[in-house]
């Protein structure tokens, strides 16, 4: 019974390392985090494998952390930050603390339904990829409620990033990515970008290290109350594309 799986996960702390770790970065998400945790907990528990949930809080100033801890979930833990450092820093902290063989990070607004994890797991477990990334650009994906401004900005930035960083990935920014543990350790240990564009750096590094990247079409919803400001984030993204390029030329990634 799927609900019984959830109850067991809720009540009994794992006595061994998990197979799957799910990391959710969050910042001031008091109104959104519990439904997201619920959706994740119900589905991943239903997979029947041992798993853990890590909330990488990015210095929330509201009662997000209190609400999460009050839920009393035995296999959930919060990895806090002393102050707001950026999404990239939060994801890195969560991923480096994770103990699973397969490590997923997923956005706090559940914009990609957790059910899409199954496809990413198949790409890694059966397809042999080092990382599988959710994609809103790959054939078969489904992006709903996405604004025209966001659509145009995303396409332009994607083309620029592909050109400058020589990545073959169509959608670098979807907040739904699965890594094998060895791949996660190698990539996140070298990540230097703490902000929104950290995904781009990870994919640049993965390409540089010769890792196998599977781009998997997923459903994606532009969730209500999104904190992404398209124009502001586009400027940051552009800056970070050049920063990564420069880092590469300066030898910052020499050991990668």
């Amino acid at each position: 019974m799927p609900y019984d799986n959830y109850l067991a996960w809720k009540q009994e702390a794992l006595q061994r390392d998990p197979l799957i770790s799910v990391v959710v970065p969050c910042y001031n998400e008091r109104d959104r985090i519990l439904p997201t945790i619920g959706a994740i907990a119900a589905h991943v528990s239903d997979l029947g494998a041992p798993w853990e949930l890590i909330i990488a809080d990015d210095g929330s100033t509201d009662d997000t952390v209190n609400r999460i801890e009050a839920a009393g979930l035995a296999n959930l833990r919060v990895e806090p930050a002393p102050r707001n450092l950026g999404k990239g820093a939060a994801v890195r902290r969560g991923m480096l603390a994770a103990r699973g063989d397969y490590l997923l990070f997923a956005d706090a607004d559940c914009s990609t339904p957790i059910q899409e994890l199954d496809k990413l797991l198949a790409a890694v477990q059966e397809g042999g990829a080092d990382l599988a990334i959710g994609s809103r650009a790959a054939t078969g994906s489904e992006a709903l409620n996405r604004s025209t401004v966001r659509r145009i900005a995303t396409t332009g930035l994607r083309l620029l990033a592909q050109k400058l960083l020589r990545t073959r990935v169509e959608d670098t920014q979807c907040g739904f990515k699965l890594f094998t543990r060895p791949a996660a350790r190698r990539l996140f240990a070298r990540q230097t970008i703490d902000g929104f564009s950290f995904d781009l750096e990870l994919l640049f590094l993965a390409h540089r290290m010769g890792m196998a990247v599977a781009e998997v079409p997923v459903r994606w919803y532009d969730a209500p109350g999104s904190k992404v400001e398209p124009l502001k984030e586009a400027r940051r993204f552009l800056r970070d594309v050049f920063r990564i390029r420069l880092n590469g030329l300066r030898g910052v990634y020499a050991d990668a």
Partner: protein
């Protein structure tokens, strides 16, 4: 999000699918307003096909139930998916609604529950 509305055994059954969030709340409210009776109406929201529900959608369900009760009607949730069930539990909303476990005969079960209430 697409929500269907149908009347079964005199109970108005609203059936959202997929993601039931703030984007879908206006559609839910409009469907309810255009299909409900002004007095003593009984409504079941079938959540079997819903994989995610956010706080705004939950608040809309609470508002709908309050409004129906004010006119001697009521609202129950029918056959919630496991995701919805867990979300209701974590958000502390489980006790705000009567839950009808089975999708089959949801309207009849809803009628029984509503009659008791």
């Amino acid at each position: 999000m697409h929500i269907t509305a149908a009347r079964r055994e005199d109970v108005l059954v609203l059936q959202p699918q997929g993601r039931f969030d703030a984007h879908a709340v206006p559609e839910f409210r409009a469907l309810l307003a255009s299909n409900r009776r002004q007095e003593r109406d009984e409504v079941a929201v079938d959540l079997n096909g819903v994989e995610f529900v956010d706080e705004q959608a939950l608040a809309a369900l609470v508002d709908a139930r309050t409004s129906l009760r004010a006119t001697d009607g009521d609202l129950v949730l029918a056959s919630p998916s496991d995701s919805v069930r867990v979300i209701l539990e974590l958000t502390g909303r489980s006790n705000d609604f009567a839950l009808v476990p089975s999708r089959e005969g949801a309207a009849g079960a809803a009628r029984s529950l509503l009659a008791v209430a």
